[in-house]
């Protein structure tokens, strides 16, 4: 029996094989959204736990990696929603320190603050599209929305970033 069929039938060995095969991909995807290694590890385990719980509903002909990625994205998005706004990025992934003018430094700080103020559903699109260079179809697929909706969210995120930057006194 194929590995995915065995997983769908509830075989723990098959689940372990899939876990070992995909844990790094899932982690790498989540850490790009939450930018916190400790949280990404936690959410990776949670992603697989949810996948295990839903094994009976998984179609062995479907793409396992895409299914996992959708679960992981939803969990990461829930995490962003739960986390208080205005908190700075964790120290584990610090922004590179660059010797530059006070104005540039101020703009950088304002931009990070403006980014953290974005609503999570816009932030995840901006994070994946602008920072991590994912394409619109990829973003749309993992969020379960149309490509057009992903573009609209990106447009709104950029507009909101610009407005917030102006409010904070930084010129985008």
């Amino acid at each position: 029996m194929e590995l995915l069929q065995r997983f769908a039938a509830g075989d723990l060995d098959a689940f372990e094989s899939l876990f070992r095969q995909y844990q790094r991909d899932v982690y790498r995807w989540i850490v790009r959204i939450v930018r916190d290694p400790a949280v990404a590890e936690e959410l990776t385990v949670e992603t697989f736990w949810r996948a295990h719980r839903a094994h009976a509903g998984f179609n062995p002909d479907a793409k396992f990696a895409s299914w996992l990625r959708r679960i992981a994205t939803n969990l990461a998005l829930d995490h962003l929603r739960r986390r208080r706004p205005y908190v700075d990025l964790p120290d584990e992934i610090p922004a590179e320190q660059k010797p530059d003018s006070a104005v540039q430094q101020q703009t950088r700080v304002a931009l990070r603050k403006a980014f953290l103020e974005l609503p999570p559903r816009l932030r995840v699109v901006a994070q994946l599209g602008l920072i991590e260079d994912e394409t619109y179809p990829e973003i749309a697929e993992v969020l379960g929305i149309s490509t057009g909706a992903a573009k609209t969210r990106m447009f709104r995120a950029v507009r909101l970033l610009r407005k917030t930057l102006q409010r904070l006194g930084a010129h985008p």
Partner: protein
């Protein structure tokens, strides 16, 4: 192979604005792959997965939910009952 950002953003009609914002954002918050710590998983998470699988799931019986809903409804429709409910809780 991924499309370059400009092509990726095509159709939005705001390539220049997006490219400008993208460059500034990447300067303030570099992509995770460019940062040394955190981009790659540093340990095997299977032992934690096993612990998570073995953790008993707390299930609240349906009767408890029904009782809670009834108490909530009573508090809304008969506010005078609140002190009595508080006393019993």
């Amino acid at each position: 192979m991924k499309k370059p950002l400009k092509e990726n953003m095509e159709g939005s009609g705001r390539e220049a604005e997006f490219t400008n914002m993208r460059d500034k954002l990447r300067d303030a918050m570099p992509p995770v792959q460019q940062v040394e710590n955190g981009a790659e998983l540093r340990r095997d998470l299977w032992p934690e997965m096993l612990r998570r699988l073995e953790r008993p799931q707390v299930r609240v019986p349906w009767f408890d939910w029904a009782l809670l809903a009834a108490a909530g409804a009573a508090a809304i429709f008969f506010p005078a009952l609140i002190p009595a409910l508080l006393y019993h809780f």
